[in-house]
Symmetry: C2
Subunit: 351 residues, 2 copies
DNA sequence: CCCGAGTATGAAAGCGCTTTCCAGACCGTA
DNA sequence: TACGGTCTGGAAAGCGCTTTCATACTCGGG
């Protein structure tokens, strides 16, 4: 009854945080008849406080709908409880998913993510890192940075770092392997297993670390099956639809012979799909195609795309966990699951 | 033991903030031989200060590499210079683009966006609004909220709001029209202009404000051309690929007759595309299909999708500008550009 | 019954910046 | 020369919280 009423009201207040226009820790202290320090101690569990005071304070907190001011808290503690997440494009389909899972992981530990995008430009990336730093983030997660290692190393002196797609040795840095090499191998091995011998590679932007690793995986797979590599079978895209489209066209006009294509990401693959279609080539009857990333849309292309799948959920949460462990001084053991191949309808055995 | 504890704690602090520039406004003041207040005044331009002191301070700032601590600043000013942006899914292709442009617009005015996702669930959305509020954002941009108007109205009492896809009358709220109705009309008008008479509608989730408006546009277009509406021509999707796929299948198995389909968003349309393909129906020869949103991928579907295009850049920046104007008390005049139809290859005249 | 070891709690000192308040310098005018 | 007014810039009081330091107070052993 009474309690029920109070409860629902409280909930509403909290919901709007309307409660706190002026409710401070001090007012709670006054209401509870204790000192601010005691309230703080109770709220943070930083010291033992007698049962009755705890009750009094909790009651006051509930009654006033007190919500600690994180800004003041940050200032006092010297930590902002927010961590910067810089990716290259917040609106990229693949990274979008990863960001969503980072958000989830961070929030769970009550850190707030601050997203920023580097747009594949060193300068932009540097600028937004500066911005995050000025906002006093407690750590930065860099999703496939394009900055040089040395720069990152010195950045690590200012703030703990989690980064993907590269190895930088520092106690304040955790590197997450995104399995580009084994993923690419998986794809190409599969094609080879299907009897394909002449497999083209539709690469990502040169210099882009991910792209380089996927290329390496492609070459490694060929090599381990003793298939000769030919640079004529390689076309450079830029990870976009249009890049994939153009690269495919180029491959087609160059008259090289191939029966399968491994595209370094799904966006390229989808562009390639259209280019093939325009040439009257059927997938998979004439050409087999494998992508990388398993975008949500890739299950709905025509035909549905066979592609390398990684659990973005796990990736993102691993990144978030790694960061939190790093910050809180716990040992960080980024575990990760291996990539798998989502076999759909864009591939078939050769001949 | 005791010492060990202290030490590890110390280390932890260093890890967070310790190593970074301990250069504060006060140290700048000292270096420049003036008082902190003067430095603050110069930095913020809040009062007139003599030329020589300005020079001295600027020199000191440059020399020490002083970067004001935004946390302290927020606490003192009572404003955080950050604004909350809640969308339903940070990883949705369409909203992703909008978020990117909001980020740009906000950053330009040196506000920081704080993104959060509601996942189309009232509860989640409420929770993340709470979170943003507790972080003391200066305003909140809600991209197609699913919360009731009354709730938003009372939220507006706490914090200025910019919201899309609905009308809520309040001086502290700016509503941005995302042109769902005219956009949908555009699409359907086009199909009608092409001679189609039986046009199916592949809707979004019921109750979703955007979806409702797009549906309205569909009906309005039919009506204005005196085409009779039939509920049998309407299938409900959920804005996802698979939803579109299923809805299309349902439409197909229901044996209604139609020559064209208007899908309420591109993801649905792409799902529908596959469903049609599976049935051996060709687009556009057998069925014309129009989408909505013009996702980057939509130019690369097979066939490339005719779809309603809106300038996400402008939308996002308009939202950002509106928010900033609202906060800074300037009159906000959200201007917007009309949607256009990107005519590609998924449509053709009837018969 | 007293003394030292704990312990629960309050007072107060920050965290780094903004802003109010006030004193002194400087100007013009009578 | 004196007086009101205008400026400039320093001192200091916050912003709301954490944390150290100090102070009563409890308890058990000698």
């Amino acid at each position: 009854m009474q309690s029920k009423l109070t409860k629902s009201k409280d909930k509403a207040r909290t919901a709007f945080a309307g409660s706190e226009s002026a409710v401070t820790l001090e007012s709670v202290a006054k209401a509870a008849g204790v000192s601010p320090s005691t309230v703080s101690r109770i709220l943070n569990g930083t010291a033992k406080v007698s049962e009755d005071k705890v009750r009094a304070v909790n009651a006051a907190v509930a009654k006033l709908g007190f919500l600690p001011n994180p800004v003041a808290r940050s200032l006092a503690r010297g930590r902002s409880m927010s961590i910067g997440v810089v990716s290259q494009a917040i609106d990229s389909p693949f990274y979008g998913e990863a960001l969503a899972s980072i958000e989830k992981g961070l929030l769970r530990a009550s850190y707030t993510p601050m997203f920023a995008s580097g747009h594949w430009r060193e300068e932009d990336e540097r600028r937004c890192i500066d911005h995050l730093l000025s906002r006093r983030v407690d750590g930065i997660i860099l999703i496939t940075s394009c900055l040089p290692d040395t720069w990152l190393l010195s950045l690590a002196k200012r703030v703990p770092l989690v980064l993907t797609g590269r190895k930088v040795a520092s106690p304040r840095v955790i590197c997450l392997d995104f399995d580009h090499v084994p993923g690419a191998r998986l794809a190409v091995d599969y094609l080879i297993g299907q009897g394909h011998k002449r497999i083209a590679f539709l690469g990502g932007p040169t210099g882009h670390p991910d792209a380089v690793q996927r290329y390496e995986g492609y070459r490694a797979a060929l090599e381990s099956h003793r298939l000769t590599f030919s640079s004529r079978l390689v076309a450079v895209g830029d990870y976009t639809y249009s890049g994939g489209f153009q690269a495919m066209q180029q491959l087609l006009t160059s008259k090289v012979d191939f029966s399968a294509v491994f595209a370094a990401n799904d966006e390229s693959a989808q562009g390639a799909l259209l280019a093939l279609h325009r040439q009257g080539l059927r997938v998979p009857q004439d050409i087999s195609l494998v992508g990388f990333d398993d975008l949500p849309s890739s299950a709905y292309t025509i035909p549905p795309l066979t592609t390398v799948h990684r659990s973005t959920d796990q990736i993102g949460e691993a990144a978030a966990d790694a960061m939190i462990n790093l910050i809180e001084g716990r040992p960080a053991t980024p575990k990760h699951s291996s990539p798998t191949l989502a076999i759909r309808e864009s591939t078939r055995p050769w001949r």
